[in-house]
């Protein structure tokens, strides 16, 4: 009897104030969800769909199943280009990960201590980050120019003429040099994030450690470093995502083909050339293959992020 009453009352209950309040959050989510679906998820799935088609131009119509994927891994020309791009992207990422992020940590430590002109240096180190990548790429191309660039003129001036190299023209130099340019530009990012992490550490901990007789070095490795580990994780994953998507700095300094001889070709430039611009001088794009490269880039990125999520979750649970 009472049960029957309950079920009768259930329907109006959905509309009562208490329950409505519980559901309002859905309404707040809707606009963002809509934007996300239309502008992010939609194109993403369309790109996945496109990778199963082939044809010339911007609307490939011929369905070929997984043939693009098979070609990418088995046809020598595609495989060579693709693995070259993957290896280059890994080198590009490794240079950022080691040099940019360890220098960022060093600078953050220096900037966290109290000294005159601290704010000036904090601003200075962040300034290149605010510039356009194309501007930075163009400036560094000029600075590194073998005919009138400042770098080679200085090297020649101090008697190191043998080191005045065509920096962007050698196959073994171009990629590291461009990566270092990019490090120069983006170093402000990890610095600021590490700085925020370091200033968040309670003074008392450090004071206690130094009273116990810990040296600066020990304080850094035993107190500060473990406490900023979550920041390190975030920076690592951001560097990973940024670098596996990197395009603009290569385009500005080595062109869409990653000259010389594809030695600076990254996944994104390979994708751009294949799927959007086509290669000079014919310029006929292959959208299906472009989408295939984009999809694989997406899978690489997703697996990286999943690994990071797994470890950061596990760390959080342990605590």
């Amino acid at each position: 009897m009472s049960q029957a009453n309950l079920s009768k009352n259930q329907k109006p209950e959905l509309l009562n104030v208490e329950n409505r309040r519980k559901l309002t959050w859905v309404l707040f989510l809707l606009p963002a969800l809509l934007v996300y679906l239309v502008f992010m998820a939609g194109p993403l799935f369309d790109s996945l769909r496109l990778s199963l088609y082939t044809g010339k131009g911007y609307s490939p119509t011929e369905f070929v199943g997984l043939q693009n994927y098979i070609d990418l891994f088995t046809v020598p020309l595609w495989r060579e280009k693709f693995f070259n791009a993957i290896i280059n992207t890994c080198i590009f990422f490794a240079i950022h990960m080691t040099i940019q992020n360890s220098l960022g940590l060093l600078f953050a430590n220096l900037l966290a201590s109290d000294f005159k002109g601290r704010n000036f240096f904090r601003t200075l180190i962040f300034t290149p980050t605010t510039l356009s990548v194309l501007v930075v790429g163009f400036l560094w191309t000029l600075i590194l120019n073998p005919n009138w660039g400042a770098v080679n003129q200085i090297l020649t001036g101090v008697g190191l003429k043998q080191f005045a190299l065509p920096w962007l023209g050698r196959e073994n130099l171009a990629l590291p040099v461009i990566a270092l340019t990019s490090v120069w530009q983006w170093i402000g990012m990890p610095t600021v994030m590490f700085l925020a992490g370091l200033t968040g550490i309670s003074e008392e901990l450090i004071e206690a450690a130094s009273i116990d007789g810990a040296s600066e070095w020990e304080i850094f490795w035993k107190i500060k470093f473990p406490l900023i580990q979550p920041v390190i994780g975030i920076i690592a994953i951001l560097t990973f995502v940024d670098n596996f998507n990197a395009f603009d700095v290569i385009y500005a300094m080595a062109g869409a083909k990653g000259e010389p001889a594809y030695s600076a070709d990254l996944l994104a430039t390979l994708f751009y050339r294949t799927g959007i611009a086509g290669e000079h001088p014919t310029g006929i794009p292959n959208m299906g293959m472009g989408a295939t490269i984009a999809t694989i880039t997406f899978l690489i990125l997703m697996s990286g992020v999943l690994v990071w999520l797994y470890f950061s979750r596990r760390n959080a649970d342990e605590k």
């Binding site: 046809v75 020309l77 073998p146 920096w167 962007l168 010389p260 000079h280 014919t282 006929i284």
Partner: protein, 427 residues
């Protein structure tokens, strides 16, 4: 507030509807857009379209160029979404042909006068195999070596008449502490298009020689091709110290600042060099052939204009295309764009002396031909390397000393033979 806004908007919409209605009511006045990859030539094209408008007051042509590297892709997406320009520049051979085969370019087989104004050779890059034209050829470009007359005089050098003389002159310049050639390889395309493909016609014997390769009568690694690669190797001591990282724009600056004595380039740079190289006298000569060979000039078909098959004003567009056949247009393009040469049978006299020098190359040479790889050799399937890319990579390797001329020619031959039938059966 909202009501007011609504009222204003509805008035605006109504007004625009009425205005467009007026536009269609008087069909005589049409505006055509003209797509192009020549962003540098906006002023010159304004002069040309103004002259056309003076003749046909009811048709206005608006020149609307796209950044050159993006042109092919942009045009294609416009045509596919039916937002393409009424008229547009069409690339020669494969790239343009592909658009015609896809139905985006109107056929011009009924355009009056097209067969009389242009030779079959001039029409061929924009016609089907059976000779059906789909674009009106408007401009060809030539090639040559710009040289610093002051530096030549100071070192007692005359314009050379054989390749061996040119190399001797280069050595003389190098000994005097002058960089002989400004060219580098950072941008890759220029060493291919303005150096190698400028030397190839003389090396292989012009049009007939090129046809022998296309028909499979000669192999792409025969002694003639090796000799052209050898010429690239000859240049190695005479390019700038950091040539690997010297871009096309850097090279132009090295020449214009008097730091390098010579610059392999195309006729399209006349205007730019005139603007930049003001401190010395300069001129142009064609790279002479190896001793015992005849000189053939690389006179390359560059641009034609076609009509959008889906244009609402196809008749007006065809009126414009027909006007492109007139001597009036030929004179306008030759004189407004020094370095671009009309492709009509009758060539008007040009006012620019350097442009005339380029034209004289054609008269003095044994013959002229287009760039070596343009016809047929760029249509490789997507999983093979086309002849342009292969030639480019091998030329750079030879200049850097990573490959001998023979190795480069063998690699080039292998790349082409991998997909181009006649090359795989060559003798």
């Amino acid at each position: 507030m909202q009501k007011k806004l609504f009222a204003v908007l509805s008035i605006l919409i109504l007004a625009s509807l009425v205005l467009t209605a007026c536009g269609t009511a008087a069909p005589k006045d049409v505006t055509l857009t003209l797509g192009s990859w020549r962003t540098d030539d906006v002023a010159a094209w304004e002069a040309i379209t103004t002259a056309f408008h003076a003749k046909y007051p009811n048709i206005t042509v608006k020149f609307d160029p796209t950044n050159p590297p993006d042109y092919n892709a942009t045009l294609r997406s416009q045509l596919e979404t039916n937002t393409g320009p009424d008229l547009f520049f069409v690339r020669s051979f494969g790239v343009g042909r592909e658009l015609f085969d896809s139905g985006y370019i109107a056929s011009l087989k009924d355009l009056p006068g097209i067969n009389d104004t242009f030779s079959a050779g001039a029409r061929a890059p924009w016609a089907t195999d059976s000779g059906e034209p789909y674009a009106v050829p408007i401009a060809a470009v030539s090639h040559g070596i710009f040289y610093n007359k002051d530096l030549f005089a100071a070192n007692g050098i005359e314009v050379p008449t054989t390749w061996e003389d040119l190399m001797a002159a280069s050595q003389k310049l190098l000994d005097a502490g002058v960089t002989p050639f400004a060219n580098g390889t950072k941008d890759a395309w220029d060493i291919n298009e303005v150096v190698m493909m400028q030397l190839l016609p003389s090396a292989v014997g012009g049009y007939d020689g090129r046809m022998a390769y296309l028909n499979g009568e000669r192999c792409f690694n025969d002694p003639e091709i090796v000799s052209a690669f050898q010429q690239i190797a000859d240049l190695r001591p005479y390019v700038p110290a950091g040539f690997e990282a010297t871009s096309y724009a850097d090279a132009e600056q090295l020449f214009a600042q008097g730091k390098a004595a010579m610059f392999f380039d195309g006729s399209w740079s006349i205007g730019q060099i005139k603007k930049d190289a003001t401190a010395f006298q300069w001129g142009v000569f064609y790279p002479p052939a190896l001793k015992g060979k005849d000189t053939y000039v690389s006179f390359h078909v560059d641009a034609a204009i076609g009509a959008n098959a889906a244009s609402k004003n196809l008749d007006a567009a065809k009126t414009f295309l027909q006007w492109l056949e007139t001597p009036e247009f030929a004179a306008l393009i030759g004189n407004n764009l020094p370095g671009f040469f009309p492709m009509t049978n009758e060539i008007p006299s040009l006012t620019d002396p350097i442009a005339n020098d380029f034209m004289n190359f054609n008269k003095q040479a044994k013959g002229v031909d287009i760039r070596f790889v343009w016809e047929k050799l760029m249509d490789a399937p997507t999983d093979k390397v086309n002849a342009y890319t292969s030639l480019n990579n091998n030329v750079i390797s030879v200049l850097k000393g990573e490959e001998t001329p023979e190795e480069a020619a063998n690699a080039f031959n292998a790349d082409v033979a991998a997909w181009y039938g006649p090359a795989s059966k060559c003798k």
